[in-house]
Symmetry: C2
Subunit: 207 residues, 2 copies
């Protein structure tokens, strides 16, 4: 008697789904079986999602200018003439743009680096879109570069590195988004580093 | 200034991924962005998975006889002549077959009902492959039906219903897999119902 497993294409699908972020072996199996489906109305689930994936693979790509997801380059943000030309917000990943957009606070354009400096992971300046950023600063006449990078060691190192390079533009303000207590967080739930940064970055309310 | 969101095909992909089991809105977005990819080597991730999905949608289907996932019907299990003809193991879903196979304990064939009786969800006997089960009992000369259904209210009700129908075959033994303490579980971690079932189903060791 042969020990049975799923048909080969289904095993391959499980293996591929397992590589998706946040998906473990059990979820991968559960999703694969759901996609294949056994019920009547459900037969087309896998097909529909697959077709959307292919459509995305064919159509959606990073904007040549800022790196945001787009169908046409330059993207909707880069094309939007109602946006301010002065401030340019530098983020690590294109995926960081949407949360910033949702705040509604920033009215300028973005630049996604495609990652952050991480020597231990062999990510150096040449792996990021830093050259493109310097070109844009020259071409687009930015007046402020806002570094909206992660508040961790690599984010910090990348911010310092960029600030160093940007000193070549003496007119340019280089700023960094604030670090401090998260909204709704009390002092008792903040870690030491957050609290020390909140303290160092304190803001004058009145004098 | 227009508030920006992802391009339409990407938004559609997020919405479709959100329907997958165990995937919330945040994971769906994370997976969609990973599938679209922005890195160099990563451009084909979505395409590869999509192609495997389409291959599965085209090739993999339920075995006409037992309901297990297969490319050719009857499936590998139903075709395997080294399997015992006597015992037939009834499960709720085709997905329950693989965990049972992995135990290596059962050497017979399976029958997937395609669900269990759940009047509140409008699942009645006609929605399950019960007619096919009765035909198989007649045709294949089963000597024992092992009900390997869930240890919950619906599983219980389905088992009782099937046991009633199967009384039409007086020679047939109808059994049900044991309920009791899970392996590695101490008495202190078992709930009352598990413990009462473990007690009721106690097994004679020696006398």
């Amino acid at each position: 008697m042969r020990r049975i497993d799923y048909p080969e294409p289904l095993q391959r699908l499980v293996a591929q789904l397992k590589r998706m972020p946040g998906i473990g072996p059990r979820s991968a199996e559960r999703i694969a079986l759901w996609l294949v489906g056994t019920g009547r109305q459900e037969a087309s689930r896998g097909r529909e999602i697959a077709e959307t994936m292919l459509e995305n693979a064919a159509k959606v790509r990073p904007c040549d200018r800022c790196g945001f997801f787009t169908i046409a380059t330059p993207c909707e943000i880069c094309r939007d003439e109602s946006r301010a030309d002065g401030p340019l917000c530098v983020v690590e990943q294109a995926t960081d743009i949407i949360p910033l957009e949702r705040t509604g606070v920033f009215k300028g354009r973005y630049h996604a680096l495609g990652g952050r400096l991480a020597p231990l992971d062999h990510v150096g300046p040449e792996d990021l879109t830093i050259d493109r950023l310097l070109e844009r600063v020259k071409e687009e006449g930015a007046t402020e570069i806002i570094l909206a990078l992660g508040a961790d060691v690599e984010g910090e190192a990348t911010a310092q590195y960029l600030a160093g390079l940007l000193r070549e533009f003496p007119e340019l303000n280089v700023t960094r988004i604030a670090q401090g207590l998260p909204a709704g967080g009390g002092l008792e739930s903040a870690d030491e580093l957050t609290l020390s940064r909140a303290m160092t970055g304190r803001v004058l309310l009145s004098k």
